[in-house]
């Protein structure tokens, strides 16, 4: 069985303990944070294991290459601490179970992976994707399963992720363009952290979009819109690619409003919070987030994760902000029609 490579010494000598100090949902001073993370490392009880809301933020706050959230998840599972109602956890585990109903396009060395997000099948259209489509995969067999860290069930990931990676290996692909942060994060960061070999190069779709937009540089019409970016929780699992949001916005002539809740301080869509913890946390986070978008004059709310879009699109639209996926925004910039605007 694969196990997490976690380096105690890095935390012991950490000058900031930012993983917990910067947490937006727990209130800890530096010393207390150090104390709690050390307890977690040693397998002792910590209130963090009970109170963490699974925002994934600590994965980004840690700059020393450790994986505090993976560790929290491991410890929770060891201790039988459930984060979400059992029914919700079961539902998500059932959804991701391979059923032999995957879809394969015309597979080449470079392939687009839609994981198990059907919305992506609609989004990927037009000339931005000409050089790779119809080389794609879709279905549970190619679903990274990393979402289960929300549910403190790393065991499912350890069981399924190697099979998913093997499915890619069997296709003989060299490069996998991941259409979701979790997908990229799993291959680029989580798998290595667990010693799972990845026999292909994962590419985040932001990077792919940025490069493709540069190919069509002459055709880009600056959109001249003020946008708020809805950063998903899963983006924290691949924060090395977050910079591409600014890069892409700059390229397509869009102003990213400098609002309170962005970058490290971003608030998630609240979807998982609602399922796991109920009305109050979900509502509070969504309210603050959308108020912030409105106060800073955003005309568009740009989504990266289709699940965030499903959760927030109607809510932002009711506040006068147009919801749009980043792919659609890029397509608009090169004169194409968005497919999911307003959804």
């Amino acid at each position: 069985m694969y196990s997490l490579k976690f380096h105690e010494s890095l935390c012991k000598t950490c000058p900031t303990s930012d993983c917990l100090v910067k947490c937006q949902f727990l209130d800890l001073e530096k010393n207390e944070a150090k104390e709690e993370i050390m307890k977690i490392i040693k397998g002792q009880d910590s209130f963090v294991l009970q109170d963490c809301v699974t925002c994934y933020g600590c994965e980004e706050y840690c700059k020393r290459g450790n994986h505090p959230f993976y560790l929290i998840t491991e410890r929770r599972e060891e201790k039988g601490i459930v984060t979400s109602p059992r029914a919700i956890t079961k539902q998500w585990i059932n959804i991701g179970e391979p059923r032999g109903k995957y879809q394969l396009g015309d597979i080449k060395e470079k392939v687009l992976s839609f994981g198990f997000m059907p919305e992506c099948l609609q989004l990927v259209q037009g000339k931005l994707f000409d050089d790779v489509m119809p080389s794609y995969v879709f279905g549970q067999e190619f679903f990274c399963n990393v979402v289960y860290i929300h549910f403190a069930t790393t065991s499912i990931i350890k069981e399924r992720l190697p099979m998913v990676i093997d499915n890619f290996r069997k296709l003989g692909v060299q490069e996998v363009i991941c259409m979701h942060d979790e997908c990229y994060g799993s291959f680029a960061h989580l798998a290595p952290a667990y010693g799972i070999e990845v026999p292909f190069k994962p590419i985040h779709y932001f990077e792919y979009l940025f490069n493709r937009l540069n190919v069509f540089g002459d055709e880009i019409r600056p959109l001249k819109k003020k946008i708020a970016y809805q950063r998903p929780c899963s983006s924290r699992l691949c924060s090395d690619k977050h910079q591409f949001v600014r890069d892409i916005m700059e390229l397509i002539g869009v102003e990213l409003v400098e609002r309170t809740y962005q970058d490290e301080k971003a608030l998630c869509c609240g979807g998982i919070f609602g399922m796991a913890f109920g009305y109050e946390l979900k509502h509070d986070v969504q309210q603050r987030n959308i108020d912030d978008m409105v106060e800073h004059g955003a005309e568009y709310c740009v989504f990266n994760c289709p699940a965030c879009q499903n959760t927030l699109a109607t809510k932002v639209a009711k506040r006068g902000i147009k919801p749009i996926h980043i792919i659609d925004l890029c397509r608009m910039a090169i004169g194409e029609k968005p497919v999911m605007e307003g959804v």
Partner: protein, 460 residues
């Protein structure tokens, strides 16, 4: 019998009467599992007067008659068990009056739910009725006749509780008005403050008369509707969850479903909660009330609100919902039937377990589906099986499973909803003898020749 055909043609016109094999074939069956039986004639009247003439003819000649709406009950209630005349009501589909301020509508006996819904949406956008999840062609009169349920059942009871008056052709051929309309021009009540005579007809499946007009109560139609789904893996908690939701008095409709496929639904019980509001604030307030009421279950990790995709939401918000028809074709071949006893909500766990037991025993695909009636006063629990009509062995297994459901439902205190003839017999057998005699007196006095949908409620 040639004279009968001629007389019927004189009453309704040549083109609206038939005894052609290709037509009686269809009127011999419904989409359920009950064996077919052909009628001798099918007539399609256009007026109450034509129905009076047909009934008088049948009464004189002692010919069985079976009134028929869209024939969607699935339990064989419009199969002419003794032959005779099937009276297809579909041409009597006019909406006669809407009283907007008093919120009622008067429709003819063959008017469909779909037609009324479309009419109200176009002409009275602030009014709605309790639409069932049967296909939109299901008729209002037949639906109240079987004590159907609909979108407003959690708030206002069975659809038959929402009847505000009836016009019925009784077996003598006379027209009988029931409720306030019996002495007033206004159709605002089916009974009170008079003796409520609607019970002489509602629930009798046409065995005491043919409904030619129905007044139905209408209700405020809010501008917005939304749906949330609360899931739990513990069937024993479902009654408590329902109790908490109904206590809020904030929701429109509550349905429950549990089924093994697709995988997203495996292992869990799904409580579908519909809410309405005229403003975002109203809707959000109601949502908060409901979520807060269930917060204890969330905190104990016994249940939670699942994420509902836009596509799933649209499917759920459809009226009527089409998801049942998808379930009906799981095994291909389009076979679907359920037994839906009306039963206490506290029986939910044992009903679910029985359903799984029977599905396993008879190797059938299944779905549990329930609709809450009133503020948790009872529920319709649907033991649903799907089968391939081309597979006779599978159909036989479904029949056996449904028979066991019937026995089980009675044993645990349930009352059959739209029972098959066999279930009617089972119910009569265990019914209080005085009640049974009262039913017998009613039937014998109203229909002394036994011509009205014979075989149904055969208390005589």
């Amino acid at each position: 019998m040639k004279d009968v055909a001629r007389t019927l043609a004189d009453i309704v016109g040549e083109q609206y009467v038939s005894n052609k094999p290709e037509e009686v074939y269809f009127y011999a069956r419904d989409p359920g599992l009950m064996p077919a039986h052909k009628p001798d004639y099918v007539v399609v009247p256009k007026t109450t007067e034509e129905i009076q003439k047909i009934v008088r003819l049948a009464n004189n000649e002692k010919i069985p008659i079976v009134p028929m709406g869209a024939g969607m009950a699935l339990t064989g209630l419009v199969i002419p068990l003794k032959g005779g005349i099937v009276i297809d009501m579909k041409k009597m589909n006019r909406i006669l009056e809407v009283n907007e301020k008093a919120r009622y509508v008067i429709v003819e006996g063959g008017t469909s739910h779909g037609l009324l819904k479309a009419y109200l949406e176009k002409n009275y956008p602030r009014l709605r009725h309790s639409i069932p999840d049967s296909p939109a062609t299901a008729t209002i009169a037949a639906n109240v006749m079987i004590h159907g349920q609909g979108r407003l059942t959690q708030q206002y009871g069975f659809n038959s509780d929402m009847v505000a008056g009836l016009e019925v052709v009784i077996p003598s051929g006379d027209i009988c008005k029931i409720g306030s309309c019996s002495l007033s021009l206004d159709w605002f009540s089916k009974g009170a403050p008079l003796p409520d005579l609607s019970g002489l007809f509602l629930g009798w499946f046409g065995a005491t008369g043919i409904i030619t007009k129905v007044a139905l109560k209408l209700y405020p139609r809010k501008k917005m509707r939304d749906v949330d789904i609360f899931v739990t893996d513990r069937d024993d908690l479902v009654p408590d969850i329902i109790y908490e939701i109904t206590h809020t008095e904030m929701v429109e409709d509550i349905n429950i479903f549990a089924q093994p496929l697709p995988m997203i639904f495996k292992d869990n019980h799904h409580i579908t909660i519909f809410m309405t509001g005229d403003t975002d604030e109203e809707l959000e307030f109601k949502r908060k009330m409901v979520w807060d009421a269930l917060d204890g279950f969330i905190k104990s990790k016994d249940g939670g609100f699942m994420s509902v995709s836009t596509a799933m939401k649209q499917t759920l918000l459809d009226m009527p919902q089409r998801s049942v028809s998808r379930f009906a074709d799981v095994k291909k071949g389009g076979g679907f039937e359920y037994s839906g006893p009306i039963i206490l909500v506290e029986r939910y766990p044992e009903c679910c377990r029985k359903l799984v037991e029977l599905a396993t025993q008879y190797d059938l695909a299944y779905s549990a589906m329930a609709r809450i009636i009133g503020r948790g006063h009872c529920m319709m629990f649907g033991f649903s099986f799907t089968f391939n009509r081309a597979d006779h062995d599978m159909m036989e297994r479904a029949r056996k499973a449904l028979h066991e459901v019937s026995e089980y439902a009675l044993a645990v205190g349930g009352v059959f909803w739209k029972p098959t003839v066999e279930e009617q017999k089972m119910a009569i057998e265990v019914m209080d003898p005085t009640t049974r005699n009262l039913m017998k007196m009613i039937k014998q006095n109203l229909d002394p020749n036994g011509i009205m949908n014979p075989g149904n409620w055969g208390v005589t």
